[in-house]
């Protein structure tokens, strides 16, 4: 499909267009954080602590007198980076297992499916907490923990696609000219699954971001003074009555970012892969 066609289709889907705009805005904020933020995220000014939003610092300050706006802006960087990393690792694990299970079938398929279903059945945050207690807190550990527990959707989707594609005649045609298994997987099957993988990645990104913020909120993720949205929420929660702005603004950003990816993902699904069901 040509880029121009995708663009035209995307404008046909108004909601996905809004999603794309939101993500564009959030990404530009992340890239240009140094320019946009008036202060560095760890600049402490104890005199001006707990100031409500004003023209000078529009999101107010926290109990160390740090500028909430600057911290939220820098937090964008972390949120996107972590989300992307989590999804990439998830996809790598999930797609790999899905390809193997779908192509070879039989006993291998059954074993992989069993592991997938078991992992999927457990509540991800609880499982991630378990992993964190094993490998210790920190942002990198959070990425690993979440990726380790939330790859099953990728395996499921890739496997299902493989099973249906394998029966298509073009695979038989490929075998009739003597293509090897490896070539069939990577030249014939995978290119037809990539759209679904992209859609799934956009749709899992928000939950990846939400999970990391949740773990940070619980204190297992980013350690202070890293401006992680989840950590900010948890800090702000203590002062929710006297300084509601500290928790509110990161919260709004979390919601907006997650919404943006969800809207885009829905639209992409309609365009690239109308049959995908998650």
């Amino acid at each position: 499909m040509k880029i121009s066609n995708i663009l035209r289709l995307m404008f046909g889907y108004r909601t996905s267009c809004i999603g794309a705009l939101i993500i564009l805005a959030v990404s530009s904020v992340a890239i240009a954080a140094d320019v946009i933020a008036p202060k560095h995220y760890s600049d402490v000014d104890i005199v001006k602590k707990l100031q409500p939003p004003s023209w000078k610092c529009i999101f107010g300050t926290d109990h160390y007198g740090r500028d909430v706006f600057s911290r939220v802006v820098y937090g964008t960087r972390i949120a996107l980076w972590v989300g992307l990393l989590v999804v990439l690792v998830e996809a790598l694990v999930g797609v790999g297992l899905g390809l193997i299970a779908g192509y070879y079938g039989g006993g291998l398929d059954k074993v992989i499916l069993a592991i997938t279903d078991m992992t999927w059945a457990l509540p991800p945050i609880v499982l991630a907490l378990g992993v964190i207690t094993l490998i210790g807190p920190g942002l990198t550990q959070v990425v690993a923990a979440i990726a380790l527990v939330s790859w099953p959707p990728f395996t499921r989707v890739v496997r299902a696609k493989m099973v249906s594609l394998k029966e298509r005649e073009f695979i038989l045609a490929a075998r009739s000219i003597g293509e090897s298994s490896l070539n069939i997987i990577f030249r014939y099957l995978l290119p037809n699954i990539v759209p679904s993988i992209i859609v799934l990645m956009t749709l899992t990104l928000p939950s990846a971001i939400l999970s990391t913020t949740a773990l940070s909120f619980l204190g297992f993720g980013a350690q202070p003074p890293t401006p992680d949205w989840g950590a900010m929420l948890s800090e702000g929660a203590a002062q929710l009555i006297i300084a509601p702005w500290i928790a509110t603004f990161p919260g709004i950003f979390i919601v907006i970012t997650a919404l943006g990816f969800n809207l885009l993902g829905d639209g992409l699904r309609d365009i690239l892969d109308p049959k995908l069901k998650i």
Partner: protein, 340 residues
């Protein structure tokens, strides 16, 4: 004449699962088939859906493994060869499918689609590949400017031309054509049939032409075998089979086929009732007996063997000497030929 392919007592059954708690059961898709293909001829395989004709085609190319029986290709036993040892066979055979849009990789452009057979079989030189692709495009009647397109950007007829080009890229001996024109419109079907006939003449190809359409089969085939429920019921040279049809099933097939000539409208037709039986529990005795108006005791108990009823005319029917169904067939095929 030399036989390119020989098939003996070939059987293939597939395992199906019956629901959640159901027992798995054998679907006997091909159940004891003997046939041969002469070099340079077209062997037509006719039958309704589920008669095993598609499975037969795939078995001959060893795209699937037979359950039992024997397949020889050019005097080499290919029945149990592993995929790696079959590479030479892939080079010498090709396959064309019914639905061209499903048989081409939607994410591969025409150039890559045509390039793959050459690359797989060790032709790496860019100039050779380019020359061969251009030559092949010309042969199947496509333009060079279609090379960069993807399958969904060209018409069904053009897609089928690409599929044919891919099948004959390496100058094969045998091409299995599985309903190559069934999903195409009449005007496109004529173009593709013309192309297939021309290629056969130019490249001395042997065709296994599988179809349910007798009108098409009559036009292209030298010999025809009629399949029903995994078995061959009748086989003969095309003219012999049409002029001297013996098996009641073949007659019913001919008689049911609508002929585009209104003068035949009043012909009394031989229409059998019922539907093809299940392949899991095929009927005992002759497989056609539940639908055959002439069936009697023996047909229900003993399975008829394929015997030579006339010269080179093989038949599996207990009753052929007693029944004469030619009145149903003669007039109408004569009318088809009379227009010559």
């Amino acid at each position: 004449m030399e036989h390119l392919v020989e098939v003996q007592d070939l059987k293939k059954s597939f395992l199906t699962k019956g629901g959640i708690f159901g027992k798995s059961s054998d679907v006997k898709a091909v159940d004891g088939v003997d046939l041969y293909l002469n070099k340079g001829e077209t062997l037509g395989v006719v039958g309704e859906s589920g008669c095993g004709k598609t499975t037969l085609g795939r078995l001959v190319l060893r795209l699937i493994k037979p359950t039992s029986g024997k397949i020889n290709f050019d005097e080499v036993d290919i029945t149990n060869l592993s995929e790696r040892k079959l590479l030479w066979l892939r080079k010498r055979t090709g396959m064309v499918f019914q639905d061209p849009s499903a048989s081409l990789n939607p994410r591969m452009n025409i150039r890559s689609t045509l390039k793959r057979p050459l690359v797989v079989h060790g032709i790496k030189d860019k100039n050779t590949i380019q020359k061969r692709i251009i030559e092949m495009l010309e042969k199947v009647g496509l333009n060079e400017d279609q090379l960069e397109r993807f399958p969904h950007q060209i018409s069904g007829g053009q897609q089928q031309r690409v599929a044919i080009a891919r099948a004959i890229m390496l100058n094969p001996d045998l091409v299995v054509l599985d309903e190559p024109t069934s999903s195409l419109d009449v005007s496109v079907q004529a173009q593709i049939l013309n192309l297939l006939l021309k290629l056969q003449r130019d490249l001395n190809l042997t065709y296994l032409f599988i179809t349910h359409d007798l009108v098409v089969e009559r036009h292209v085939s030298d010999r025809i075998v009629v399949m029903y429920c995994g078995k061959i019921l009748e086989s003969a040279d095309t003219d012999e089979l049409l002029g001297n049809t013996m098996h009641p099933y073949t007659v019913s097939l001919f008689s049911s086929t609508p002929i585009p000539n209104p003068h035949l409208k009043s012909t009394n037709r031989f229409i059998v009732g019922g539907e093809p039986p299940s392949l899991i529990h095929p009927p005992r005795g002759c497989r056609f007996h539940p639908r055959c108006p002439y069936a009697e005791g023996k047909c229900k108990k003993v399975e008829p063997k394929l015997v030579e009823a006339a010269k080179d005319h093989f038949l599996a029917c207990h009753k052929f000497e007693e029944i004469d169904l030619l009145t149903y067939v003669k007039r109408f095929w004569k009318l088809m030929e009379r227009l010559n």
